[in-house]
Subunit: 510 residues, 4 copies
């Protein structure tokens, strides 16, 4: 009975769920703000006051009660007690008494076009930018005002990034890396291998080319100098940071690049004012990526059966590399232990130990979850529900709409201090990606990305869900209007007439 | 190295190229004309005279020189010498001196939506009717004024059929059967098996359901009575004739239905005023289909390694079943013998013997070729060019645009008398499908489907290509305007920028 | 993760478990006894008395108490009260007071070399005859004095058959059919398809040839006359009965041969004094096999989702065809319903209905179970334990050592009268295979195959397990000595040293 | 049509053909001689004189004419003009006038049990040691008196090694490494992946365990310290040198171990007095292996599409690492360029450039060829003859019986000086493996492994084939008696009777 192989669904899950995030070391802060100002159309500066809230600004060690935030145009003008602030007559007042104000959430690892299955890419041929925009709106709607896309089709991502930056499209602010340097395309051995068996050569090649360009597996054959050369060419195409594979994608224990090659890539990125990050899957892949000088490590807690040795934890903290950890909730963990094979169980057991050790290591933690949008017919497919590494039910940690909430919950369960969690979702990400001149905290002069919550997020992780209002660049987001054009978020179509009379000879799920 | 399995491309080729045609025995001739009148908008009757041609009317044993054809509205008013005909002052005169006038060609086996590969169906999701219309226009442009679709998605085919019949869309007149009763859908073991490994269960089920409805493989489990019952339900959905599988699709030697079940289906069709036909692939499958009373046998010359025994040839002629033969040209035959495996060679060797024997058998021959439209990236795919049973180059016998010309050429090579060939493409098809009240010959009262050729088709098969003018229902077809919206007939897109820098790690063709 | 495909393990299970048995109509009873006398070395006639038992002779409607059985040499001399019998002074007396004496059990469908997996055939290369002998000894040890092998390598089976008949090897009496006419070999699409992907072409071809010879799938292409011709050639090789495929092996709903071809084969067998039987899997396959005149139908209760129609049940009884039913116990049924997919559940649900209907139909029932010996590493393989159609635990109905006991139990659960069950395992099989001149009942003159049980088999099916003594051809079987050379019946080897330190990267069972 | 996937045959070919050799740096020369003395039974010292030959001793820069070699027992006693040597009366005289005397050839990379296909391992279950002995005899017969087995089942290899060393079995002297550290077993993703789909879990696990033990892919997850620890355990099992994977096996561009882990392993080997070597497949894998201190690099010329950079060539020479190059002849090269895909062509093109560069680099060259014995039905399998990377015809470079002759021929074609070639096959290997106290040259005190050739090997590479006599440890080898028990070297069996009548339905080769 032909059926999607488990391995491939796992690959897909892993592709969406584990294929890392972002780290930037932009020397030039002007460059850092580039996407958010480029081509922006002029608009009259609005004035707006969030009045009388408890403010957790991402910087101070404690919440400040009775604080107000004055916004002018897209930036924060000042914070303080309402009577201290220069409020104008036409300033719009938002009464935030009893509310909690925090910086807009950031996500250090999302995939805005994660569903690269043949049927999805073809169904929406010519509309990939709309898919990306939809995902950016799903992210924004759930409080994520900035997301870092760490694997996807560069050209399409950049187009949407620029449209959002220019105010032409609403959505989460996007920074993107394009391909994971060293990996091949969606229809290669790195991801959905079997697709090449049913799709035409022309299409397979085209899709892979769009994702990979000049920085695919071929680079593994080259000397460090030539690798750096190719990375330079790729950087010039306009990406915001680079991400490379320290380990392979599956099975995860091979190294894609030597320390020399990794160092050459990181230096190339830094020379261009960008940050560099690595996809790591083993303790050696992790160690080398840190030594190479990566600004951010994606899912450092995923190290196969072997927990991170103490020495590497120390190196992590010493280098101040951002740790974009992928915890899962207790509920998801139980699901894994009950349903998956020994190999997967060992892996998640180590992953859990690693998260706890990373919390106490002193390395800056970053919220990251491979956030992605998948259509309902995928998430309910018997093969996915059986093989998905993290339960696609309530605790689906890679769901772009909710996964960050599970992240907070999981980190709370693992003992992360509340203020650390908040910083992991805001300031730490801005710092690690070198976007902290504009983003990450509520301070005068910074971009006005703000969340107003009904309940105190420092009291319980679940309170991050109590979103009262979202402001991005000083504008109130109409959450009900998002996503503007539901595509993957549409509910599943009911069976058509023909399906009622059709009885498959041998069911696919057999 | 993942690659489309040969078996599957062969299956696809076979699906497109060998999955039979059509046979109708409509007792009710009113029903026979149904599609062409249903919902037609009123229009003023035009008058038109084709003047002074050599007419080969499909009925007379010889061409008639200096003959004119008078058309009024959509029908032929009269034939004769110009001075004998009641030409009006506003009659449009077409000077056909030195030309050859024949009935519009018919094709007893086409597939207007043949490319059911995942990428094609998804790329054109929501536009399948346009794909069908495009194919109907390709057929018309090349002189085929009536085509019989013998395997495809019923609902979509019927919609286009009705739009063309109503004059809302230009295109070849369509009669359709929907599913081949007894076979499962495109993404099943009968066709593109591997697709179920990469597509979601929901999609696989939906596509299969659309093609199959209640008449799939499940029927093979049932008693003859219950098979007939399901066929009755299917007929009521509005198909024009039924087609069932006497043999399986691949490998071809199994029987899908017993003589009793086949007879029950044929009787069910006849009761409803429809004709019945069978997909046969072995000498036993063929014998039983004839005994069951089929009006038409699809590709009776394809019988595996074993040529048709004399007794069955006699039975064929005695039952006057239409023989929708699939000859290939000498050039294609040489290609097969040079490139394909022993099994395929034996099969085509028998097929060749069978065609020659069928020509002399006295069974009515029908032009049929599984005519289909495939996009250029499919036809140039290395796997297709290597595995295709009949060369996809010049002599691609299943090309909807040219395959019928290869049919004439091949039959000429095999010694078929010229007038037999012309009838096989016109009158014989009309008779076998019980559409001869309206179609198939140039006679007063019949629908005015007419081809004007520059050269004499009875002199050389190649002369069928010399189309000067096509009239369908009395209207001159603007061939240059077809197809109106090129989709599959568009030329291949040039490589995009990303493809120039992308180097696959291991090429798919390896 | 590479893993044995479910489909293939199911195929294997089905191959072992559903690939039917045997039916013979030997006109010539001399021929019928052939294997049991051929080449037998002379030996002095022993005399033996089973004294004072309750005898259920397979013929009388009721048990006869206080009955003794006098055996001389290999045959029964007389039955009666002890004092009526001509017991000699040197007659060995077996005191059977309180015991139950029944004819030796027969099994209408076994596979003595069922495990055709590459590793098994190669591990025992050159020793296949020993494997067959081992199986014949497993059968004998559990009370089956005669077995009918309905699918296997003809030449090897015949050799062991003849050795046992000649008294050179101990074991159950064998009658064999060789290949199932119309099916291809073990490493073809009919059975273990994937093996051809890892084995050399030479080996694949050789193994398939050994099983298939001239009567494989090729016959499906031929006319009935030519099919019969090939069958004649095959019969001359010395098989005991013929078995052909009415339906295909998997998926089961296609017909392999038309009624004409089936009739021609049956007639060919009868002409040679052999019985004919069919492998059927659908209601149409079953109906045609009965009409073709088959003496025995294998697993007539397996008809896919559709129960046997009343008309076919009547035809069954009218033709007096032997019904070699394959019931499963309630426990196995529950296992199926809990673990298998919808398709399999529907199939087993119909199978259950069919068994009950066949019991009341009047058709002669035959005990049959695809009895086979598999090594422990196969039966404990995760993929087998998950996919096996009938639980490989306690109720593994195809286990050659115990499956017949499950058969009795299942038939009891389904309401079969106790005496019918006993006859199904003795007289009915002898009659259906036309071996009743020598076998099947305890009557003077018949071969002395006898079972002495501790408990009454007519009281409870479980009592068939209470074997006290087995006599075959008048000789007491030393059950403890069987099998003489354990091969597949050896217990699983403990892990070797290397396995303790080896940790697979990704476990096969993932 | 199921068929051995190309990828797997290529994997097999690569496994046999490219999976490297051996390098030992035994500090302790006693240990170095261990296998050749251990358990040897006492025997009276024979005396033997090779008289009047041209001696090319592997050490001197020029041949010495009119030279004699005096052997006593297993060692060379003296060399010189005959009249200078202390010849005894019972010394056996071998007249070598006009002949050429060279050291016994050594091969730095063979696989004595290379054919791990399921059918081979199972067919010879219980006889693997005989297979290894047969290969050792094939090697010896063709002039290879010492071979280094660089990948195989450790326990079995050591047993045969010890038996040969003890004089119990005749054959080439064996040194062995067991598993390639870091690779998984024969039935894993590293080699014959599909086998796990048809073999039982128990068997797959057992075979993999026998090859892998504690040093498989699992080590890639560990820290360098823990890797070294496992290697220590493995060394204690009695191997002669270690070999680890610097690159993966297929596709070849990933790194299995970091520089730190590689260094740790090399140090571990050196600490135990063993040499260390690496399997490399890319320029980075090669560079790191040299830096880690490897004594030998296997197939350094195989570096994917990218030739070795100058800097690495220099490092090679500086470290004096042994370069076990794998050249192919011009004829084989043309075959590759004509028949293989672009990827393979690029690879072989770089391989060719690399060999030429390595010749001029100054690195010590070693003869090595993955020498293996395969049975004829494998070598003639259509899939092998089509996919094999180096033609299995005349120029099959990995044939253990002839591959070393092709090596000489290929090196000659690429411009290697004749004396360099001779040393590559003798002294260089002894030095690189630290066995030069006993082996590699013709010097007084060394083990008397001697080849007498009819023609001058320095004049033409082809002259290595002109073997007149082989002495191993002072004993004349009876070449005609080898191999003693042909197994894989047996000619192919003729078709059996059944194969003549069997016609496969669809041929495997389709």
């Amino acid at each position: 009975m032909p059926m999607p192989t488990r391995r491939e669904f796992i690959a897909l899950a892993a592709g969406a769920g584990l294929a890392g995030a972002a780290g930037a070391t932009a020397a030039d802060t002007a460059a850092a703000a580039r996407p958010s100002t480029r081509g922006r159309r002029e608009r009259k500066a609005r004035s707006l006051l969030i009045s009388g809230a408890t403010v957790i600004d991402g910087s101070a060690d404690k919440p400040i009660e009775g604080q107000s935030v004055l916004i002018e145009g897209s930036r924060i003008k000042a914070l303080g007690r309402r009577d201290e602030l220069p409020v104008l007559s036409d300033t719009r007042i938002i009464d935030a008494q009893g509310k909690y104000v925090i910086p807009g959430l950031m996500n250090a690892n999302v995939h805005l076009l994660a569903d690269a299955r043949l049927e999805n890419l073809m169904r929406y041929a010519g509309r990939w930018e709309e898919l990306i925009a939809e995902a950016a709106q799903v992210a924004l709607k759930s409080g994520q005002t900035t997301v870092f896309d760490t694997y996807g089709p560069r050209r399409y991502l950049m187009t949407v990034r620029d449209r959002i930056a220019a105010g032409e499209t609403v959505g989460s602010r996007i920074f993107c890396a394009g391909n994971i340097i060293g990996l091949d395309g969606p229809y290669s051995a790195d991801f959905l291998t079997s697709t090449a068996e049913v799709a035409s050569s022309a299409l397979v090649n085209r899709v892979n080319a769009i994702w990979v360009e000049n920085v695919g597996r071929r680079l593994m054959w080259l000397t460090p100098e030539r690798v750096a050369q190719e990375v330079r060419v790729y950087i010039e195409k306009g990406i915001d940071f680079i991400k490379y594979a320290s380990n392979d994608h599956v099975p995860g224990a091979f190294l894609a690049f030597s320390l020399e090659a990794q160092t050459a890539m990181v230096e190339e990125a830094h020379r261009a004012g960008l940050t560099a990050q690595a996809h790591t899957m083993s303790v050696e892949g992790l160690r080398i990526a840190i030594e190479a000088g990566c600004d951010i490590i994606q899912h450092p807690n995923i190290t196969g059966p072997e927990p991170i040795p103490e020495r590497t934890l120390e190196s992590f903290a010493r280098h101040k590399a951002g740790a974009a950890v992928f915890p899962i909730t207790n509920k998801a963990y139980e699901h894994v232990m009950k349903t998956l094979a020994a190999t997967a169980r060992t892996m998640w057991s180590s992953a859990d130990i690693n998260v706890r050790n990373l919390i106490r290591s002193g390395a800056p933690l970053l919220l990251a979850n491979d956030g992605a949008v998948f259509p309902p017919e995928f998430l309910t497919d018997p093969l996915v529900t059986r093989a998905w590494s993290v339960a696609p039910g309530e605790d689906n940690s890679i769901d772009l709409a909710k996964g960050h909430f599970y992240w907070f919950q999981a980190m709370e369960e693992k003992g992360c201090p509340p203020m650390e969690m908040l910083r992991a979702a805001t300031r730490n990400i801005a710092v690690a990606y070198r976007r902290d001149k504009d983003l990450g905290t509520l301070e005068a002069g910074k971009i006005a990305d703000v969340l107003i919550l009904d309940r105190n997020p420092l009291q319980a992780a679940a309170n991050y869900r109590s979103i009262h209002m979202i402001l991005k660049e000083g504008e109130i987001i109409d959450r009900d209007a998002l996503p503007a054009t539901p595509m993957l978020t549409k509910p599943m179509e009911p069976p058509i007439e023909e399906e009622r009379s059709y009885i498959p000879f041998l069911s696919k799920g057999r």
